[in-house]
Symmetry: C2
Subunit: 259 residues, 2 copies
């Protein structure tokens, strides 16, 4: 099922995408919902941020190719982590499909994209095994973990480097029932493919990540986990359009603007 939060005729609600249409739903897919009767053409609605998580997690260094290229740049040997490297982000970083990434006035020009598969938690998860983890997952969507590389290098924790307002595009749809263990993920800037990798290449796969976090911090319905970015990243400039496309999910598109 393909879930979308949208606004049409001044009303914001959840909906189910079927073909080129979205069917309005009463309620919330994470608790109670009923299919409504109103259908809208997908291209005529405003796509909203699907949700505000209680806690917003990201995994770092989770594709070998990304690790290797970072190590090559630093002239070192890649150090493969023996556990997922988890961090938090601020909720105000989140923006919807088609909203603008606004570069803060004091940022350098090193604003990089990071296309990522994102997990949305469906049920409270505490100390779950990797084998059981899929039962606690509602669905998956796409995310872009926008990063200011100079701040990332300078700061102890990545509070502004990866979570300044608008640095967390998310969406457009949350898809349930997808085999998220093997999807093609691509990131394009102005149409040029710059990242292209299958999610089967994650060092720690989705169930392993959910299980690991749940050993320390209880996951709640609606929490989101960005699972890490593959390969190389590059700087973007104002006016650029960045797209993260994931097989079966769709395209998350955002424009870069300068404050």
């Amino acid at each position: 099922m393909r879930w979308l939060k949208f606004t049409a005729a001044g009303k914001t609600s959840w909906g189910i995408v079927e073909g080129d249409n979205v069917i309005a739903v009463n309620g919330d897919p994470l608790s109670e919902w009923q299919r409504g009767t109103q259908s809208h053409a997908l291209k005529g609605v405003k796509i909203e941020l699907p949700l505000i998580p209680r806690t917003f997690y990201c995994v770092g260094l989770n594709y070998l190719k990304h690790l290797k290229e970072a190590a090559d740049k630093a002239g070192t040997v890649p150090n493969v982590p023996d556990r997922p490297e988890i961090g938090y982000r601020a909720q105000n970083a989140l923006i919807a499909h088609d909203e603008d990434v606004v570069i803060p006035a004091s940022a350098t020009e090193k604003i990089h994209y990071e296309g990522e598969l994102v997990v949305v938690i469906g049920k409270r998860a505490q100390n779950v095994t990797a084998a059981d983890a899929p039962k606690y997952i509602f669905g998956v969507t796409a995310g872009n973990d926008i990063s200011e590389r100079d701040w990332q290098r300078a700061d102890l924790q990545w509070f502004r480097a990866k979570a300044s307002d608008t640095f967390g595009p998310l969406g457009p749809m949350i898809v349930t029932g997808l085999n998220y263990g093997d999807l093609l993920l691509q990131t394009r800037v102005n149409g040029e493919v710059l990242q292209s990798q299958r999610t089967k290449d994650l060092i720690f796969d989705v169930p392993a990540i959910v299980s690991y976090i749940s050993r320390y911090v209880t996951l709640e319905p609606g929490d989101v986990i960005y699972t890490g970015t593959p390969g190389t990243t590059k700087a973007m400039k104002p006016g650029d359009v960045v797209e993260v496309e994931i097989e079966g999910i769709g395209i998350l598109r955002n424009k870069i603007v300068k404050r």
Copy 2:
């Protein structure tokens, strides 16, 4: 004014503390509220977590004495930051006064206290100056940024070291109208004073912190910022009782237990 979230006779509400009593309030001090008629003896109520912030911030390395002792231990020279070092925590770390800090099964014995002054945001703050920052602050309370030092050293970001479930005691009261620029902060374990410092010794004071964060991430009403810990910290063991006392706010007391 001294605000408390509490439960009495099965009902949870906000209240105003006056002497040894708490007066129930309808509504929420961060938006609309009305003083009720019911009064309860403070010692007969269950003190609750005052709030769940949208985003939960902490400042690191914000007292010279803490920096110096960390540098001495590492055999290095203290490196005074030129800006606040900000990090995020998970909401599920938060617990109320008198609730237990539960050490995860896989933790080492290096579970340290960190007594801290905590700021509660009252109004949406975006790009505010330090001079204007106090207008956006609702009040202050006490916090304990419990830390597992081996995880803090091992992990890139401090997801579990400082935000495992129950690692963030907060409360008991949020106090408005206090001169938070010069309060005595003390941390005691089993009655022994282990940290004692005035908040005037913060490297970045409360208005500077709020102003700095608001340049990158919009602060929302109810967001909380732990402002950093002074001096030395030490390991605690199961059965220990840790108290953070701040002048004008009161005592935040929690017991350490092993899962």
